[in-house]
């Protein structure tokens, strides 16, 4: 049996670029622009799931997470995409 490590995996679920994001638009318009922050041109919000995944290495942690995200509809493929990042071994 290979030794399994625990990895921290971040899953960011966000709307596809072509899909409007009213929450991001509101943060940009009503919080940033109305308070004088003119350098920020665009805001897109996302939902972040931080997982601890048992796997033999980072690559496997990512593969397990990718399959799970697709099988359990963690993101809705019609309107969203998810970005999976292994940030390192969990402490």
């Amino acid at each position: 049996m290979p030794v399994l490590n625990k990895y921290t995996v971040n899953v960011a679920i966000e709307n596809k670029p072509s899909i409007r994001d009213p929450e991001g638009e509101t943060i940009l318009r009503d919080l940033m622009i109305k308070n004088g922050v003119t350098q920020v041109r665009k805001v897109r919000t996302a939902k972040l799931l931080e997982l601890e995944v048992e796997a033999k290495d980072e690559a496997q942690a990512k593969t397990i997470t990718e399959k799970m995200c697709s099988d359990l509809r963690i993101f809705n493929p019609v309107v969203s995409l998810c970005k999976i990042t292994v940030t390192g071994e969990a402490k």
Partner: protein, 234 residues
């Protein structure tokens, strides 16, 4: 004829729907806990409104993986009537029984108001008794009801006559003002290709008795009666 109403943790329109079926439409109906499904004995199933699993992750997605959905899929495949109201519609979309997605309203607000809804298709199991173009008064109450689908799929919905209800004004125009949540093409409800699976955001069970409506609307009743009529003739 017997109708099942699925109950999830967080459903809150299950009893209203049961009341309308039993006491107004006067048909046999039961509440069925989602973990102990026994749909074999039923001719139709309704997924009611509410907030199954607290709308966690996305409205409807966790309910879409619950045990009763396996049997709902089976009934859908057999051509039996399947109706999703509000959260039930969200579950049907998340389970893939209906296409598209229901996203957060453009206003980001929970919207609870009476809307005018136009019947776009009378070919479905739940709209057979309506005239196409009929205008109904029904309330909506949701935060994630903005229907979206990509252009190619929208064309498919139109070509296959799968748009069942749309938000309109009193003259039947699908105007922006009449669209409460920013739904694409003012879509309020759709069906599968066969027309036996229908989902809609407005609540017909809240528009089934005059006492509950400022318009004395009973417009929702005909959705349930169409289903029974279909079963009678099947």
């Amino acid at each position: 004829m017997k109708v099942a109403i699925a109950v999830f943790p967080g459903s809150n329109c299950d009893r209203d729907t049961l009341h309308v079926l039993r006491n107004v439409v006067k048909t046999d109906a039961d509440l069925l806990w989602h973990r102990e499904p026994d749909l074999d004995r039923y001719d139709a199933v309704i997924l009611p409104g509410g907030f199954s699993y607290g709308d966690y992750l996305r409205a409807g997605v966790i309910g879409a993986f619950s045990p009763i959905l396996k049997q709902v899929r089976e009934m859908a495949r057999e051509g039996k009537p399947v109706l999703g109201i509000c959260n039930g519609f969200q579950i049907l979309v998340e389970s893939g029984l209906l296409p598209g997605a229901l996203m957060t309203n453009l206003s980001l607000k929970f919207i609870c108001k009476w809307t005018t809804v136009k019947v776009e298709s009378s070919r479905t199991t739940f709209t057979g008794l309506f005239e196409e173009g009929a205008l109904l008064n029904m309330p909506v109450a949701h935060q994630q009801g903005r229907f979206f689908i990509d252009e190619k799929e929208l064309k498919r919905l139109v070509d296959n006559d799968q748009i069942v209800f749309s938000y309109s004004d009193a003259a039947g125009r699908k105007s922006e003002e009449a669209n409460p949540n920013g739904s694409l093409a003012n879509i309020a409800g759709i069906c599968n290709r066969e027309g036996n699976v229908v989902g809609l955001m407005p609540h017909p069970e809240r528009a089934s008795e005059p006492i509950l409506s400022p318009f004395q609307s009973q417009d929702g009743l005909l959705i349930f009666r169409s289903m029974l009529n279909h079963l009678k003739n099947a």
